[in-house]
């Protein structure tokens, strides 16, 4: 199912089995995520969708070990992620997070090189193998031409691609991404999601765009108010009643004849007001 691409250096990495077992996360008295059970089999690309504030980022934080579950477990290849040393987990799990970095005088290549850190001992230098992995990661994220540029002068979309390259340089067998296509133009959205889909690694990705999620993910989990409300292949999950219930919008879902993936078209609840005050579409604006 997974096509191979030019990712020579990362082809050798194994894929990880991820299981969230009844994970509950709280902030103070408030539930962020409640009793979530989720599985990702080795090599699967799993999409996490849901409205703003539904708990997607919090759930991902529990996987990359920043937010500790109050109850439940995050099992990476059967081992509780929170029982492993941070460094050891980082050799298996990489993440692209939504967090502004500091204002740093680093070049793009230096930023991507950071991804090698969990594989290095403290005084180790960068080896030719590291350099090769870094170049390969830059290529996969279409960022090779940015390598020598200062990171803090890049546009938002360029930065995002560099951060994805950094995560790839970490050689993860599980890659966790929080809205990786934010700030990206449509061509790079497709390119990055295509790259992720072709990775041998297991991928867990939070996405806003339902059509992209439907096309690129093997299975989707829908989070609503911190709980999983539906899961399964995109065609089974993305239905008009579900979208009405979770997002409160009217939508039509059809299987796209060329992609074979479900295609969601949103129908605004009320017709746009005519400039003359009447309902319906204004003829001189068509």
């Amino acid at each position: 199912m997974k096509a191979t691409n030019g990712m020579k250096a990362t082809n050798g990495m194994p894929a990880t089995d991820l299981a969230l077992d009844s994970v509950t996360l709280t902030a103070g008295a408030r539930h962020l995520v409640k009793d979530v059970t989720l599985t990702a089999r080795p090599g699967e690309t799993i999409g996490l969708v849901g409205p703003n504030g539904s708990g997607k980022s919090s759930l991902l934080r529990a996987v990359y070990r920043v937010l500790r579950p109050d109850t439940g477990q995050v099992l990476v290849d059967g081992t509780n992620a929170w029982s492993l040393p941070v460094r050891q987990l980082a050799r298996t799990v990489a993440a692209v997070v939504q967090e502004p970095g500091a204002d740093v005088d680093l070049t793009v290549r230096e930023v991507v090189a950071m991804g090698r850190t969990p594989h290095k001992r403290l005084l180790d230098g960068d080896t030719p193998e590291d350099a090769e992995l870094i170049e390969s990661a830059l290529r996969s994220a279409d960022a090779t031409h940015l390598a020598a540029r200062p990171f803090d002068r890049l546009s938002g979309g360029e930065r995002q691609r560099v951060l994805i390259a950094r995560a790839l340089a970490q050689q993860p067998s599980l890659l966790v991404l929080d809205e990786p296509t934010n700030h990206l133009d449509i061509r790079h959205r497709l390119a990055i999601l295509g790259t992720l889909r072709r990775l041998p690694a297991t991928v867990l990705v939070a996405l806003h765009d339902l059509n992209l999620a439907a096309y690129y993910c093997d299975r989707l989990y829908v989070l609503h108010d911190g709980e999983i409300t539906a899961s399964g292949p995109p065609a089974e999950v993305l239905t008009a009643p579900l979208l009405a219930r979770v997002y409160g919008v009217t939508a039509e879902v059809a299987i796209h004849p060329r992609t074979g993936a479900p295609q969601v078209t949103f129908v605004p609840g009320e017709p746009l007001p005519d400039r003359d005050g009447g309902p319906g579409v204004s003829p001189h604006r068509v």
Partner: protein, 371 residues
């Protein structure tokens, strides 16, 4: 400002031998280090030569090599000059080099740890905490272990102040520049007030004057017997920080990102805070609170070698040493025979630098510590 090159088609990009660029960077940084080391030798020589009694550089080297046991020159100098160079100036110049290097690396690491470009031991009140600790020992006279107890108390004071500033400035997992600097200023003000109170209520005329002079930061009063402690602290500090350079780099990516790349951020920061307080405490006990070295040097150095701590730390250490040796030469000579506390001079350079840095960050609109 997206250049047209980003429109290059996706797919297997042409592999360019990029390692070359990296090697150039490493090469230039080695050249920079060598140049700075040479500059340091020149600076130390100047520090030994310049003063109320001028000793020619050749003679300085004669005296120094003679003292080190190399007898390849005729001892054509007076004993007084030998005393001036070896016993009066040498410890002082070396303390300057050691203190400059130590403060520069402390500032470098602190800026990474609190993820803020304005971090510096003096501005954050860490030096004030150290001063208060040291003065408390002097005033209450518990200094039975001499310089060691003074340094230990300064270390405790520094650590206390740093933790206090950090806890005050941090809200919701973030530290904004404004809160950081304001907390530092407020805590420094309180600590300095307590220090002044201690001095004023202590009935020790001459000693009070001496301590007051010390709180302005100065390298006088050091001798060979007390130099080893700051020397050891700086050496230890530079060594440990160099070993941790990769981890300091990770913090530049943000705390969550650093965690995902294998750094236990809370534990690492706690350990580093202890180390930085230790260096600051020992240096303040020896030389008084000298400000802005830890602010200026890291930023100047980054302009030349970039932000990778593996390059910034050694370069900043050498640069800081050179800077403070010259600052002390100026302190001794510009108003001779009066001596200006070196801390006053560093503040004269550092204050405007601080303002420039603040405006630069505002202009860039990238002071993302503020976010």
């Amino acid at each position: 400002m997206t250049p047209p090159t980003t429109d290059r088609p996706t797919g297997p990009a042409v592999h360019r031998p990029q390692a070359g660029g990296k090697r150039t960077g490493r090469g230039t940084s080695a050249v920079t280090l060598l140049a700075l080391a040479a500059l340091l030798v020149v600076s130390v020589t100047a520090g030994l030569a310049i003063g109320s009694v001028h000793v020619p550089p050749g003679q300085v080297w004669g005296i120094v090599t003679h003292a080190l046991g190399a007898d390849w020159s005729e001892a054509d100098w007076s004993e007084a000059r030998e005393t001036i160079v070896l016993d009066v100036r040498a410890p002082r110049v070396l303390l300057g080099a050691v203190t400059g290097a130590g403060l520069a690396v402390v500032g470098t690491a602190l800026q990474a740890l609190v993820r803020n470009p304005l971090a510096e031991p003096y501005l954050l009140g860490v030096s004030s905490g150290a001063s208060l600790g040291a003065v408390a020992v002097i005033v209450f006279g518990v200094g039975v272990f001499g310089p060691v107890s003074l340094s230990a108390a300064a270390f405790a004071g520094a650590l206390g102040a740093l933790l206090l500033v950090y806890a005050t400035a941090r809200t919701g997992g973030r530290i904004t520049s404004m809160r950081l600097v304001l907390s530092g200023v407020a805590i420094a003000a309180v600590l300095t007030a307590v220090l002044d109170l201690l001095l004023l209520t202590t009935d020790r005329g001459n000693e009070t004057r001496a301590v007051l002079a010390w709180t302005l930061g100065g390298l006088g009063g050091v001798n060979w017997g007390t130099l080893w402690l700051p020397g050891l602290a700086t050496l230890l500090g530079v060594g440990v920080l160099m070993v941790q350079a990769r981890n300091l780099n990770l913090l530049l990516a943000g705390e969550e990102a650093a965690t995902t790349m294998g750094l236990d951020v809370a534990r690492f920061r706690a350990r580093m805070f202890v180390l930085l307080s230790l260096i600051t405490g020992v240096l303040v006990a020896a030389a008084g609170p000298i400000g802005f070295v830890g602010l200026m040097l890291p930023h100047i150095v980054r302009l030349f070698v970039g932000g990778d701590h593996r390059r910034v730390l050694p370069t900043a250490a050498l640069g800081g040493a050179v800077f403070l040796v010259w600052a002390d030469v100026a302190a001794r000579t510009v108003a001779a025979p009066m001596e200006i506390p070196v801390g006053v001079l560093t503040a004269l350079c550092g204050g405007p630098f601080f303002l420039w840095l603040m405006r630069r960050d505002a202009r860039r609109g990238t002071d993302r510590g503020v976010a």
